[in-house]
């Protein structure tokens, strides 16, 4: 009987300690979580910067206007900024941008991870050296990209999860869209 009670007390104590520890951890984790997007943003920027040598920049105005879609499509060869394509901006409606370049059937710099929050507007611009059919799973957007004619995906990230953007033509994964709650 005493032994049972001892185990009870010990379990209760362990429970309190563990839950308190996790409660503390969850606070620091939520702090970490809210600072994570900012951290990830700065992480993707250098990543894009390293591929900047071959990556063509979308024009700076493209960040702020939807109408820039036309500008990008007319393909003004702007080599203005060789870095920083993917900026996950706040949820006030400004689009999150990503630019991808496909060469020889593979995405330059590896598979691009586009990280956004649910509800963000997203714009992904894909350029390629050969014609191919691109498919964004989940959102079911299909576009064709040709040399000199980039494919532009513009949409609201309404579904949570990790979605593939792949080339059906070469059967390769081009990018991963990560939509977090």
């Amino acid at each position: 009987m005493r032994r049972q009670r001892t185990v009870w007390v010990a379990s209760l104590a362990a429970a309190i300690v563990l839950l308190a520890a996790c409660g503390g951890a969850s606070e620091t984790a939520t702090d970490a979580a809210t600072s994570a997007p900012a951290a990830e943003t700065s992480a993707t920027e250098p990543a894009q910067a390293t591929t900047g040598a071959e990556t063509e920049a979308t024009t700076e105005q493209a960040h702020t206007e939807e109408g820039a879609t036309e500008q990008a499509q007319t393909e003004g060869e702007t080599e203005a900024e060789p870095e920083t394509e993917a900026t996950s901006e706040d949820m006030s409606g400004n689009p999150a941008d990503a630019a991808i370049r496909i060469e020889n059937g593979e995405p330059v710099g590896g598979v691009v991870e586009v990280e956004v929050r649910k509800g963000d507007r997203v714009r992904i611009v894909v350029r390629a050296d050969a014609e191919q059919e691109l498919h964004l799973h989940g959102y079911e957007i299909e576009k064709v990209v040709r040399p000199g004619k980039p494919a532009i995906f513009v949409f609201t990230a309404e579904f949570e999860g990790i979605f593939e953007l792949e080339s059906h033509t070469t059967d390769t994964l081009v990018a991963k869209l990560v939509v977090e709650p």
Binding site: V7, A15, C22, A25, H137, F159, F163, P181
Partner: protein
């Protein structure tokens, strides 16, 4: 290395990993529950003769009637036939053909919760059983005599053929680069049917169904979790889990469950950073032996699956060895067999947690695919343009469901192991002492499941 998202082939969507804080909470809950259970669980076995109540007579009679049995068998045969036909004749584009979605989602995953809710429904739907029974009925009618039952099923074979069948299916689903091709699946179905019919001819239909046919064995295990059970012509309601203690303790049963848990572990492991660091060197090794890159990938995956199965099995045996300290005079193998049934809830929640969104999202694809099963441009039910709605369940809800499922499985396994320990040890205090090791194993499996969820696509 093939990208794991594409390895599933069917779905272009993957789950977000569970956040670290949720992992922490869940693991803490698991530990707390385990400690509390040691102190507070019952002291006499409760699951040996569980209370049961028969359903209303008319319901039982209708459900177990010959007509319903023939209907279900016909449905099963029709579905198998559709798989073979659509796979061979239809479009080879994965998403345009019903075969991959039906086999990997509706059949492989869908039947798991269905069995856990309603009992052994696959027994009625089993196409091989239906065909074999129809054939023997026809032959006995034509020849006017009953067919002999062939050779007796060798005891030593146990459930091993079923385990082998599950490994073969896992190879097709997880490793084979052609595993999502409709034609490959159709051919595999043909080969499996041939093997099954041959085995039934040799050992008899029911003996093979009971121990040798992989899917029958698997779904019957999960049916032990259900609150409903068929006894003869009666359907009875009984406590969930209560069907499991009646399973024959056998080493080969351990084999089946370890294979099941191991292959799902590998499926989850493939999506982790761990595998992206460990897999390529293994593939490079095979590459160095001169195989093609695709084969090297496949063999690396094979090493992974075997490794996972071995690790799960080894860990379980370690727990059984530890339990020997309290239950004297029993070998580790015998103990492992005696507690094998407690792995069923663990296998169940491994399936449900890992494939939950696969079922919810890719399962919706069955609606348009039913209208055009072979991708030939049909529209039988007018639903061919229906799209999958990826907003049906959000990420946060998914996380909570996955964690709740995993913890529930832990509780189920604990309950079963504790009850069995009471039966084996007689004395409640010795039973509890013998449970410390088993408890460690259960906590290990549960935390592994949580870890896999937290590392998936992280």
């Amino acid at each position: 290395m093939t990208d794991p998202l594409l390895a599933h082939g069917l779905s272009g969507r993957a789950d977000l990993p569970i956040p670290a804080w949720l992992f922490g909470w869940a693991a803490a809950a698991v530990l707390v529950i385990s400690f509390v259970s040691l102190a507070a669980l019952w002291t006499t076995p409760k699951l040996v003769r569980p209370p049961s109540r028969a359903l209303p007579r008319w319901l039982s009679a209708a459900a177990t009637s010959r007509a319903v049995e023939i209907l279900c068998g016909t449905v099963g045969v029709f579905l198998l036939g559709t798989v073979i036909w659509a796979g061979l004749v239809g479009s080879q584009t994965t998403i345009d053909n019903i075969v991959p979605t039906f086999v990997y989602v509706a059949f492989w995953v869908g039947l798991v919760p269905l069995s856990a809710l309603f009992g052994d429904v696959f027994r009625a739907l089993n196409p091989w059983r239906a065909v074999a029974r129809a054939a023997s009925f026809a032959v006995s009618r034509l020849l006017g005599e009953r067919l002999g039952s062939g050779l007796p099923y060798p005891e030593r074979l146990g459930f091993w053929p079923a385990a082998a069948g599950l490994v073969a299916f896992a190879w097709l689903e997880l490793l084979s680069p052609r595993g999502v091709e409709p034609r490959t699946i159709a051919l595999a179905a043909i080969v499996y049917s041939a093997v099954t019919f041959l085995a039934m001819a040799v050992y008899g239909v029911e003996p093979w169904i009971e121990r040798g046919e992989a899917f029958s064995v698997l779904f019957r295990l999960f049916a032990g979790l259900a609150p409903l059970e068929r006894r003869g012509t009666e359907i009875v309601a009984r406590p969930p889990l209560a069907g499991l203690p009646r399973l024959l303790p056998a080493t080969s049963l351990v084999g089946v469950l370890v294979v099941m848990i191991g292959t799902i572990t590998f499926d989850g492991l493939q999506e982790t950073g761990f595998w992206s660091r460990v897999g390529p060197p293994i593939a490079a090794f095979f590459d160095g032996l001169g195989t093609s890159p695709a084969l090297a990938d496949e063999l690396a995956g094979a090493v992974g699956i075997v490794g996972c199965i071995a690790a799960i099995g080894g860990f379980y045996l370690l727990g059984s060895a530890g339990a020997r300290t309290a239950a004297r005079g029993v070998t580790t193998r015998e103990l492992a067999a005696q507690f094998a049934h407690s792995l069923v809830p663990i296998a169940f929640v491994y399936v449900m947690a890992h494939y939950l969104t696969f079922l919810i999202f890719q399962g919706q694809a069955l609606i348009p695919l039913a209208s055009d099963p072979a991708g030939l441009g049909w529209d039988l039910f007018g639903s061919v343009d229906r799209q999958i709605d990826y907003g049906v369940i959000g990420a946060t809800t998914t996380w909570y469901c996955q964690v709740a499922i995993v913890v529930a499985g832990h509780v189920g396994a604990l309950v079963l192991a504790h009850d069995r320990a009471l039966v084996l040890c007689g004395d409640p205090r010795r039973a509890t002492r013998s449970q410390y090791w088993m408890l460690g194993v259960m906590v290990g499996f549960t935390c592994l499941a949580l870890w896999l969820l937290s590392q998936a696509n992280a």
